[in-house]
């Protein structure tokens, strides 16, 4: 049995790594500084799953999350990887 990929689970929304060169564009679009983005722990299973694809991700990389929404169809959310370990 292979390793479980949490991103494949139907209850986990899509997680995409934002390319480094696209980060400024995203932040500009949101009109926000990077440290004001919602955080995601580098220990988060979704981040670990992304690391399996992209190799180790350093602090501050941005992840785009696409969530299904009954009213809006889908909604886009961004989170920056944080070194802090959340409980």
């Amino acid at each position: 049995m292979g390793k479980l990929n949490v991103l494949r689970h139907e209850l986990v929304p899509e997680h995409h790594l934002v390319k480094k060169e696209d980060e400024d564009k995203v932040l500009k679009e949101l009109n926000i500084a990077k440290d004001l983005l919602p955080k995601i722990s580098r220990n988060d299973p979704a981040v670990k799953a992304l690391e399996d694809i992209h190799g180790p991700l350093e602090e501050g990389r941005i992840i785009r999350i696409v969530r299904k929404s009954p009213t809006a169809g889908f909604s886009i959310y961004y989170r920056a990887i944080s070194g802090e370990i959340f409980k």
């Binding site: 926000i32 809006a72 802090e84």
Partner: protein, 887 residues
């Protein structure tokens, strides 16, 4: 007053207060326990020494020279005769004693361990890292050191230290005095403190043993003078008196060589007083009490809990310009209005700033004095105070009004009494949602109560069994503008909870609209004029005539309050109450409401049309015409309702539940039959022949079967009872229209009350194996387990009454438990959400600007403007457009 940010807090350093620091910040060493001398003058070096501040007008602070309101207060100190433990640090002291050597004071870790741990700790900066992370690491290391029974540094054998709560330490049964503890803590080298998470520069462990106690400024513990002239000291002062007294006695006993036993007793007493000075609810010791027996409120009690500084004085404050009184109903007020008693209106004021444009009118206003009335003796707003530009207030009396009116100039402020049309905030606690505080315009009324339209009971969750409500008078133009635009009742008709109206007709309104429209009754011209005189109309609806007599249709009368162009179609709830096939199922004329261009074609108006939560007509009017038109509809609908129901009359009584003799006996039969069937089920069970339902035990199956038998019995008897109670019966009208009660309640009164339950099962607790001692142990029959075969009308026998009370109590307990639980949950949510805001781009942010949601609710939809949570009601739009095109 400065506005804006003058300084930003960069960081906060927490540390322990060193005895030297206490002495340094102290302005006076307090040595006597006395407060005032015989002349009432503060005794020098006493607890009220003038060095610590002043509370009496006339005196000056010795330290800063300030008068009462100028001096901020200054600390003093008490030198304790012997050291005592600080209760707040007991846990830390225990850790230090456990983990360090009793002889050399080093942490009981080997040099190697110290080296590795020091390396690990050096990655963290003690003052900037997460205290929780440091705490976890420190706990691991100190636990390890605490386990070691021989010191790795000096090989001294260690012994276990036991904490005898709250403040006594024992080593092998022998008490370790605070003095010894302090000596041990002093021996711990600075270098070893990192492992405890201590920064030696700001916190030495021996400072947790008190040798000197700071005395808070007098401003913190002011004494109050009673009417009798007697002085009453603050609880903290009382406690400090105790501390000084005992400390003095202890010092004397020690110095003149009293027996050790006496000294120890005094020392313990000093420890008790210092402990209770900090926290008078310390577990393990009795709280210190006042002479009257009241427990003293000391430092911790001042801060903690609902009545503490934080929740009572910082998160919530008392306000001026507010009033509270009992509420009562007034159907002739608009939903946007609130009736204010004259007495309250005379006390509540609005500040008017005088400028060149209003100078003349304000002077006229002031000249009226504080109690003006017009020529019909009707209330007129007067003026209570005028405020000069320097802030001085002048009280206006009837005598000085004219004279003061002349003095008023541009730039002065005049406190005008409440006037009709002023916007105010009206509130009922608990304020669970935003509709608990709404803007109303004032109507001045005689009487002693606040009054409002009954349609507003729902959002406030108010009734008139003695409820009181609060009124707040807005003091600034911005506040009044906000209240008018966003807080006014008409702006709150739609609930953000479910995207539908939360304001609508209740009880009599619904009954009355039902009577007006159900079966489209006829009203004579006289009746019609009476009913319609309650609302503002220019003309009567289209008359009909029969045998030369003019008459009007109820639905036409109702149509007069509907806005032109309103189209809607929905089912009334007429059939939803009926279990079986409803007599109106196939009668669209009564069941299906159909309104075209503001004319009601057919249907029955009931709760689903005009009620709160469901009101379809209110909903549709709001969507199409907005708040003003909707509030006008509700105002006119409620008045029309009162007009009809007060003409027709409407009442119910016990006679309404009379059913024929044979129906009573049929219900009797049903109950006997049910008991019979229950007995048979029990028989089968006892014989072991009962087949368990899938996934259930035999016992569970039996209970389920019995419950279904009792349920059927109640339904059957209800059906029989209600078959004799038709829509001519007032109670049935109320139940079927949704005005009040359910058909179930009617069948409980006329038919049978039925099985009582606790937690969804039959009653089974109370005595050993039975509910009451009247029953055999193990009796699981119908009566023994709470089957009530009587009806409320026939009356319950004592056993049934008892069973019914058990069932009734569950509801009471549930509500009691639910309110406290949900209150706490709500508090936590509010604290978490209170400073989030939604910006122009619908982004949700906290105060720092950190994003919580990129789009409010992920879809940017305001639930208030949604259709039951959905963005649009496509079906209705299609229907409405089609009708509009047709026209």
């Amino acid at each position: 007053m400065t506005t804006g940010i003058s300084k930003r807090i960069y960081r906060i350093q927490f540390g322990l207060l060193a005895p030297e620091e206490v002495r340094k910040m102290s302005q006076v060493k307090v040595i006597t326990a006395d407060t005032y001398d015989d002349d009432g003058y503060p005794i020098e070096r006493g607890l009220m020494d003038l060095h610590m501040g002043v509370i009496e007008p006339g005196l000056k602070c010795t330290t800063c020279g300030g008068k009462v309101d100028e001096c901020p207060g200054h600390f003093g100190h008490i030198e304790l005769a012997m050291p005592v433990v600080h209760v707040g640090f007991i846990k830390e002291v225990k850790t230090f004693l456990d983990s360090t050597c009793k002889s050399c004071g080093r942490i009981k870790l080997t040099d190697d361990e110290i080296k590795t741990y020091r390396e690990r700790m050096s990655a963290y900066n003690l003052s900037s890292s997460d205290p929780e992370v440091i705490g976890i690491m420190s706990k691991k290391m100190t636990d390890e050191a605490g386990q070691r029974m021989v010191c790795p540094h000096c090989d001294t054998q260690q012994s276990k230290i036991i904490l005898d709560k709250p403040t006594t330490f024992r080593e092998e049964g022998i008490k370790v005095t605070p003095k010894e503890i302090r000596e041990r803590l002093e021996r711990i080298p600075d270098d070893d403190l990192v492992f405890f998470g201590f920064n030696h520069e700001v916190a030495r462990p021996e400072w947790m043993i008190l040798t000197v106690l700071p005395v808070p400024p007098i401003n913190v513990r002011p004494s109050i003078t009673l009417e009798t002239g007697e002085r009453s000291e603050d609880d903290l002062t009382h406690k400090l008196v105790d501390i000084i007294r005992i400390s003095q006695r202890l010092r004397e006993s020690r110095d003149n060589g009293s027996p050790q036993l006496i000294i120890e007793d005094l020392w313990d007493l000093l420890q008790f007083h210092v402990t209770t000075y900090f926290d008078n609810q310390t577990a393990g010791i009795p709280p210190a009490r006042h002479r009257s027996g009241r427990a003293l409120k000391t430092l911790v009690q001042r801060l903690k809990g609902k009545e503490g500084r934080f929740r009572s004085n910082l998160s919530g404050k008392r306000v001026n310009f507010s009033a509270r009184t009992v509420i009562s109903p007034e159907p002739f007020l608009s939903i946007n209005e609130v009736g204010v008693p004259e007495k309250a209106a005379r006390e509540l004021t609005v500040p008017v700033i005088v400028n060149i444009f209003n100078l003349d009118s304000v002077r006229e206003l002031v000249a009226r004095g504080p109690e003006p009335r017009d020529e019909f003796d009707k209330y007129l707003a007067g003026v209570n105070y005028i405020i000069r530009p320097d802030g001085r207030r002048v009280k206006i009396s009837t005598q000085n009004a004219a004279e003061n009116a002349e003095r008023v100039e541009v730039g002065w402020t005049v406190e005008r009494q409440l006037n009709e049309g002023d916007i105010v905030l009206f509130n009922r606690q608990p304020s669970l949602h935003r509709m608990s505080m709404m803007g109303h315009t004032v109507r001045i009324l005689s009487g002693q109560t606040f009054r409002f339209n009954l349609a507003v009971c729902t959002p406030y969750n108010a009734d008139f069994d003695g409820d009181e409500m609060n009124l707040h008078i807005l003091q600034k133009e911005e506040a009044r503008a906000e209240a008018r635009i966003i807080m006014k009742v008409q702006e709150q008709i739609m609930s953000p909870r479910f995207g539908g109206p939360i304001i609508g007709g209740i009880h009599d309104h619904i009954t009355s609209m039902f009577l007006l429209t159900h079966g489209n009754p006829r009203f004579t011209e006289e009746e019609t004029i009476h009913i319609m005189s309650y609302i503002d109309v220019d003309s009567l609806p289209e008359p009909h005539s029969e045998n030369g007599r003019k008459y009007y249709h109820g639905r036409d009368i109702f149509s007069t309050i509907l806005p032109d162009g309103l189209n809607t179609k929905f089912s009334s709830k007429l059939c939803s109450g009926a279990k079986e096939k409803c007599e109106y199922e196939d009668d669209p004329a009564d069941k299906e409401v159909f309104i075209v261009d503001g004319k009601m074609r057919h249907g029955t108006i009931d709760e689903s049309a005009i009620g709160p939560f469901s009101g379809e007509i209110i909903n549709k009017i709001y969507r199409k015409y907005g708040a003003v038109e909707t509030s006008r509809f509700i105002d006119r609908m409620t008045r029309l309702a009162v007009g009809l129901i007060s003409l027709r009359g409407f009442t119910t009584g016990i006679m309404d539940y009379d059913i024929p003799e044979n129906a009573v006996s049929r219900i009797e039969e049903i109950s006997l039959d049910a008991i019979d069937r229950i007995n048979k089920l029990i028989d089968t069970y006892k014989k072991g022949q009962l087949q368990p339902a899938p996934g259930r035990s035999v016992e569970e199956t039996l209970e389920i079967e019995i419950l279904s038998v009792t349920g059927i019995a109640r339904d059957e008897s209800g059906k029989i009872a209600s078959s004799y109670l038709g829509l001519s019966n007032p109670s049935v009208i109320m139940a079927r229209s949704g005005a009040r009660a359910k058909m179930l309640n009617i069948s409980e009164v006329a038919g049978m009350v039925g099985q009582q339950s606790v937690r969804g099962g039959r009653l089974n607790r109370g005595f050993y194996g039975r509910t009451l001692p009247h029953f055999q142990i193990g009796d699981i029959g119908a009566e023994a387990r709470g089957f009530v075969k009587s009806s409320y009308k026939s009356g319950l026998n004592p056993l049934e009454y008892f069973m019914h009370s058990i069932g009734g109590r569950e509801g009471l307990v549930d509500t009691a438990v639910r309110t406290s639980r949900s209150g706490y949950m709500q508090r936590r949510l509010i604290n978490a959400f209170e400073d989030l805001k939604v910006d122009e781009k619908k982004q949700v942010q906290d105060t720092v600007g950190a994003v919580i949601q990129f789009k409010y609710g992920e879809d940017g939809v305001d639930p208030t403007r949604s259709e039951n949570g959905e963005t649009v009601d496509v079906d209705y739009l299609a229907f409405d457009t089609e009708l509009e095109v047709e026209e």
